[in-house]
C-alpha cells in the first residue's frame, strides 16, 4: 500500500512539475474567455465607430415622412434627380435615395446611390425603414388600427411541472436547463476519460520503451504499478479540472465585467432590486418580462437537485475514468510505440465515442426513452449517458443499478487489464495481435 502511494506521488509530481502542465492549466481556461473577449471587443469597438450616416432623400412619391433612425439621418431634398445627383457628389453625404412614384400594393424602383459600397446591415436597415412605413400605409388602407394590431399579439408559455410518481411531489422544471446541464457534464466526462486515458497509455509506453519497468516490477507488483499510475494521473486530472473551472469562472467574469456586461449573478441582483420600484415605471414593462424569465430560470435551477447531480457526476466521472483507464494501461503495455497503439486504441475508444454521440442523438433529446435507459445502464456508455440524464430525474433504482454495474465494470476491466499488463510490460519486440493478448490474459503468473 505504501508503495502504491509512492507511485501515485511520483506520477503526480512528474506531471504537475512539468512546464507543459502549468502552461495548459493556465492557458486552456483563458482560451474561451479570450475568444469571447476578442469578439465582444470587436463588436463594442465597431458600434463605437459606427456613426450616423447622412442620407439624402428625393421622394417623388410624396408618401413618406422621415424621422432620423439610430443609423441614418435623413435630409429631404427636392428637384430633379439629375440635379440631386450632381449636388450629392459634392455633399460628402453617405448616399442618395431616390423614391419614384409607386402604388402601395407594389412598391418598387427604390434606388440607393452611394460612393462607397454600403454594408448588408446598412441596406437591411434602410429597407426595414421603408418596409415599416409601407406596411403601416397598407394597414391604414385595410382599416386596421394600432390598437387592433397590438391586441393580435399572442404569447403563450407552458409552465413545465414534473410530478414524481411515487411521492406525488410536483416540481417546476425546464427542458432547456436539463439539456444544458446534461450537455456540459457529459462532455466533461468524455473529455476527461479520453485525455487522461491516453496519458496513462503514454506513461505505460514510456516506461516500457525506456526499459525502466523491469527494475520497477522487481520492487512492486505490476498491478500496484498500474493502479498507482492510474490513480496518480487521475489526481493530476482532478487538480487540473478544478483549476480550470475556477480560472474559467474568474476570467469569464472579469472579462465580462471589463466590457460592462454583468455576470448573471450581478444581473440577477440588479433585476431583483429594480423590481421593487418597478411599479412607477411603465417603460420597465419589457424589463419586467425579462425579469420574470430570469427569475423562472433561477427558480428552476434551484429546483434541480444540485447536490445529487454533483455527487452523481463525481461518481461517474471517476468510475468512467477507472473503467477506461485500466484498458488504456493494458494497451500501453502491449505495444512498443504510440503508433502501434492505434489498432488497440480504437476498440476502446469506440464505446466511449458511442456514449458521446448518443448523448446528443438520443439521451439529451429524450432522457427517458428505452435507448437512454440502456445507454445509462451499460457500464461502457453509462458514465457519459447517465450524467446526461441525471438532471431530468432518474429513478433511484436505475441510478443504483447503473452505479453498481459501473463498479462491477471497472473491477472487471481492471482485472482483465491487469492480467494483460503484467505480461505485456515485460514483452518487447513481440508482434502483438488479439490472439497474443488473449494468450497473455490466460497465462498464469
Amino acid at each position: 500500500m505504501n508503495k502504491i502511494l509512492l507511485i501515485i506521488q511520483r506520477e503526480f509530481l512528474n506531471r504537475v512539475q512539468k512546464k507543459s502542465f502549468l502552461l495548459t492549466t493556465i492557458l486552456v481556461p483563458l482560451i474561451f474567455p479570450a475568444i469571447m473577449g476578442v469578439m465582444i471587443y470587436i463588436v463594442v469597438k465597431q458600434s463605437e465607430v459606427t456613426t450616423v450616416k447622412t442620407v439624402q432623400v428625393l421622394d417623388d412619391s410624396h408618401k413618406f415622412t422621415f424621422k432620423d433612425t439610430k443609423d441614418f439621418k435623413f435630409t429631404v431634398i427636392t428637384g430633379s434627380l439629375d440635379a440631386a445627383k450632381v449636388a450629392y457628389d459634392s455633399s460628402g453625404d453617405f448616399g442618395l435615395v431616390y423614391i419614384p412614384p409607386f402604388e402601395i400594393s407594389d412598391p418598387k424602383g427604390f434606388t440607393l446611390l452611394s460612393h462607397e459600397n454600403p454594408t448588408l446591415e446598412q441596406i437591411g436597415s434602410l429597407e426595414g425603414y421603408f418596409e415599416d412605413q409601407v406596411r403601416n400605409m397598407k394597414l391604414q388602407q385595410y382599416k386596421v388600427d394600432q390598437a387592433t394590431l397590438d391586441a393580435l399579439k399572442t404569447d403563450i408559455e407552458i409552465r413545465q411541472v414534473t410530478k414524481d410518481a411515487t411521492t406525488g411531489e410536483e416540481k417546476s422544471s425546464s427542458s432547456g436547463l436539463i439539456y444544458g446541464v446534461g450537455f456540459v457534464l457529459g462532455i466533461l466526462i468524455y473529455m476527461f476519460v479520453l485525455i487522461y486515458g491516453i496519458q496513462i497509455m503514454q506513461g505505460v509506453i514510456d516506461e516500457k520503451t525506456s526499459k525502466v519497468v523491469e527494475v520497477i516490477v522487481s520492487s512492486v507488483k505490476p498491478f500496484q504499478l498500474m493502479l498507482g499510475k492510474i490513480i496518480g494521473i487521475a489526481s493530476v486530472g482532478l487538480l487540473q479540472f478544478t483549476i480550470w473551472i475556477v480560472l474559467s469562472f474568474g476570467v469569464t467574469s472579469s472579462v465580462l465585467a471589463y466590457f460592462g456586461l454583468n455576470t448573471p449573478q450581478k444581473q440577477m441582483m440588479e433585476q431583483v432590486s429594480k423590481q421593487v420600484d418597478q411599479a412607477d415605471q411603465n417603460s420597465m414593462e419589457s424589463k419586467a418580462a425579462k425579469n420574470e424569465d430570469l427569475q423562472k430560470m433561477i427558480f428552476n435551477w434551484s429546483q434541480l437537485p444540485l447536490a445529487k447531480i454533483a455527487a452523481v457526476f463525481v461518481f461517474f466521472f471517476l468510475g468512467g475514468y477507472l473503467l477506461y483507464g485500466s484498458l488504456f494501461a493494458a494497451v500501453g503495455s502491449a505495444v512498443d510505440s504510440i503508433q502501434d497503439a492505434q489498432q488497440f486504441q480504437f476498440p476502446i475508444t469506440l464505446p466511449l465515442l458511442i456514449g458521446y454521440m448518443s448523448l446528443f442523438i438520443i439521451v439529451l433529446r429524450d432522457p427517458n426513452s428505452t435507448a437512454s435507459f440502456w445507454l445509462s445502464i451499460i457500464p461502457f456508455t453509462s458514465p457519459v449517458a447517465m450524467v446526461g440524464r441525471i438532471a431530468s430525474g432518474v429513478p433511484a433504482w436505475e441510478l443504483a443499478l447503473s452505479m453498481g454495474l459501473l463498479i462491477a465494470g471497472f473491477l472487471f476491466t481492471t482485472w482483465v487489464a491487469g492480467r494483460i499488463y503484467r505480461v505485456g510490460i515485460l514483452m518487447t519486440g513481440t508482434k502483438v495481435n488479439y490472439k497474443v493478448l488473449a494468450k497473455w490474459f490466460m497465462t498464469k503468473q
Binding site: R10, N14, S210, K211, E214, V215, S218, P222, M442, K444
Partner: protein, 314 residues
C-alpha cells in the same frame, strides 16, 4: 547457510518449458556465475528469484527463509533490459527507486548523495537521464541497484554499455560489495568476466541445469592430464604406453611446442622429471580448459567424455 537455494524449480509456458527442474545453491558472500546461451532460461530464473513471475513448482529459500514479498528489499536487481525514467532528474530517480525498495526518504537521500560523491558526479543530481551519455546512465543504474545495500545482488550482463575504464570501476565496486558481505549473481556471456570474477558457476542450457560447482571443481572435472610443453629440439621419445603426443609444431628455429597427454596417475612433477632428461625445456604448463571452451562444448551438446577429448585438442 546458503544465500540462495533453488530446488527443483519448474516453469512452463503454453508452448514450452522455460525451466525444467532446476536446482542451484549459491554460497554466501560469493560471486556466482549463471551461464547459458540465449533463451536457456536464465532470465526466467532471475525473474522468479525477483518475484516478477511465479514458479509452477519447486522451492526457493533466501538466507534460510522461504522466498516472500519482504525479500524484495533484500535483493538488488540490474536487468539486462534496463533503463531509467528519461525525463526524471537523477536525484529524484535514485530517491524513488530506493524508496520503492523500502528505504526511508532520509536514508535514500543520504545514500544517493554518498554514491554520487563516490563516483565524483555530485553535479548530476539535477540532470535528467536524457542529458547523460549511455555510460553515465549505466553508472546511475548501477547505483540504483546497490544503493539499498542488498544482501543479494543480481546483475544481468552488467558490463554491456561500459567502456573499459568504467567496467573496471564497476568491477571494483562489485568486489567491494562482496567483501562487505553481499552475495552476487552474475548472468553473463562474457567468459573473461567469469574467469576473472566468479567463484562458482552454474550452466543452464535448454531449460536444464547441466553443470554446477566452484570454478576449480568445474575445471578439475574437465582436466585431462594434458600438458603444453615448449622445448628445443624435437627428438625425444616418451613411453607411448604412458604418454600420447597430441600435437607438435615448430614455433621458431628449433623451438617446438608439444601438447602431450599423460596417463591418469602421472603427476606433473614426474612428467617434468622425464622431460628434463630428454630435452631442453623452455616452458611447461598444464593445459586447463577455459570456461569458454567448456561452455561452448557443453552447449553444443557434447557429452563429458567427448568434451574432454575436444578440450585436449583445442
Amino acid at each position: 547457510m546458503e544465500a540462495l537455494s533453488v530446488k527443483n524449480v519448474t516453469k512452463r509456458y503454453t508452448n514450452h518449458v522455460a525451466l525444467d527442474n532446476v536446482s542451484i545453491t549459491i554460497p554466501q558472500k560469493s560471486i556466482y556465475g549463471l551461464l547459458g546461451p540465449n533463451g536457456a532460461g536464465k532470465t526466467t530464473l532471475i525473474r522468479i528469484i525477483n518475484q516478477i513471475i511465479n514458479r509452477d513448482s519447486g522451492d526457493i529459500t533466501l538466507f534460510g527463509e522461504p522466498l516472500n514479498e519482504k525479500h524484495v528489499g533484500v535483493i538488488g536487481y540490474l536487468p539486462e533490459e534496463r533503463g531509467l525514467y528519461k525525463k526524471l532528474k537523477i536525484g529524484d530517480q535514485l530517491l524513488y527507486l530506493a524508496q520503492l525498495k523500502g528505504m526511508s526518504r532520509a536514508q535514500a537521500l543520504e545514500k544517493s548523495k554518498a554514491w554520487l560523491k563516490k563516483f565524483q558526479v555530485t553535479d548530476w543530481w539535477d540532470k535528467k537521464v536524457e542529458d547523460l551519455s549511455k555510460g553515465m546512465a549505466q553508472k546511475v543504474q548501477f547505483i540504483s541497484t546497490v544503493m539499498h545495500e542488498p544482501k543479494l545482488i543480481i546483475l544481468d550482463e552488467p558490463f554491456s554499455g561500459f567502456d573499459p575504464v568504467n567496467a573496471k570501476l564497476i568491477t571494483e565496486e562489485i568486489l567491494a560489495l562482496r567483501d562487505r558481505g553481499s552475495t552476487i549473481i552474475f548472468s553473463t556471456h562474457r567468459m573473461e568476466t567469469v574467469e576473472d570474477l566468479c567463484d562458482d558457476i552454474a550452466l543452464i542450457n535448454k531449460s536444464k541445469k547441466i553443470l554446477e560447482g566452484s570454478k576449480k571443481q568445474v575445471k578439475d572435472q574437465f582436466r585431462s592430464n594434458t600438458f603444453l610443453v615448449e622445448h628445443h629440439g624435437n627428438n625425444f621419445a616418451l613411453d607411448p604406453s604412458r604418454y600420447e603426443i597430441v600435437r607438435q609444431q615448430v614455433i621458431e628455429g628449433d623451438l617446438y611446442a608439444t601438447t602431450l597427454k599423460a596417463q591418469t596417475g602421472i603427476k606433473p612433477n614426474q612428467v617434468i622429471r622425464e622431460l628434463i632428461e630428454k630435452t631442453e625445456l623452455s616452458s611447461f604448463q598444464e593445459k586447463l580448459p577455459s570456461m569458454a571452451d567448456i561452455f561452448i562444448g557443453l552447449v553444443q551438446g557434447e557429452d563429458e567424455d567427448a568434451l574432454r577429448k575436444h578440450l585436449q585438442e583445442v
